[in-house]
Symmetry: C2
Subunit: 127 residues, 2 copies
């Protein structure tokens, strides 16, 4: 079974905005070369989610985990993503599409954010 | 010196959206009871950033680290937040306001997101 990972981010006008998301994709690729990783965007950046999902299906993935790179689960995660995943399922029924929770709901991510925020609050004053 | 931490999130219509951000605030409070932690929102939720900052100044904080709980740094982080922090600085000049980078740019947060995404892609098939 060939596995795919569709990392879904919001998108923005500023190309620099995508850097953390590209870094996540690069790290997953480095750690798991057998997983086909595709970063895609809801708006303003390319590829779109349908295009990103299609690329994974056409690469021969038979299971794709769809991971929302969102901190909170609002309308995008609760409505837009399920609809897109349902459309991908209809277009590529041989692929098992598994929509996951928003990454910001994961304990490890909350913990990392708390640790980084605390380190900044406890940093010494700048000279 | 009394330190404050102003955690800035975007805000959304769905109250559930705020849960990860509230969890970050709760964890920082548990680890560092001496730091005054305030969560605030750019839009749609309260308190607003100016109100959150004012609360920290009125609590007697003499230094406040402003940490954007955003994954990417787009217009909100690059334009809206610096303007709000400048306004807080003008209103409360005795407080040292320190605007930090978006939390999603921190290596530890990128690493945690990559680890969570990879764990999902490598999880066994559901029965």
């Amino acid at each position: 079974m060939k596995r795919g990972l569709l990392l879904c981010a919001h998108g923005a006008r500023d190309p620099l905005w995508a850097q953390p998301f590209e870094a996540v994709a690069a790290r997953v690729r480095a750690r798991a070369p057998a997983v086909v990783v595709q970063l895609a965007f809801l708006e303003l950046m390319t590829p779109s989610l349908p295009d990103g999902g299609r690329a994974l299906a056409q690469a021969g993935c038979t299971r794709v985990d769809v991971v929302p790179l969102f901190l909170g689960a609002g309308g995008h995660v609760r409505r837009d993503l399920p609809q897109t995943v349902a459309e991908l399922g209809a277009a590529f029924p041989a692929v098992q599409w598994r929509l996951q929770d928003a990454i910001g709901e994961a304990d490890a991510v909350i913990d990392a954010m708390a640790a980084v925020a605390l380190a900044r609050a406890e940093a010494p004053d700048s000279p």
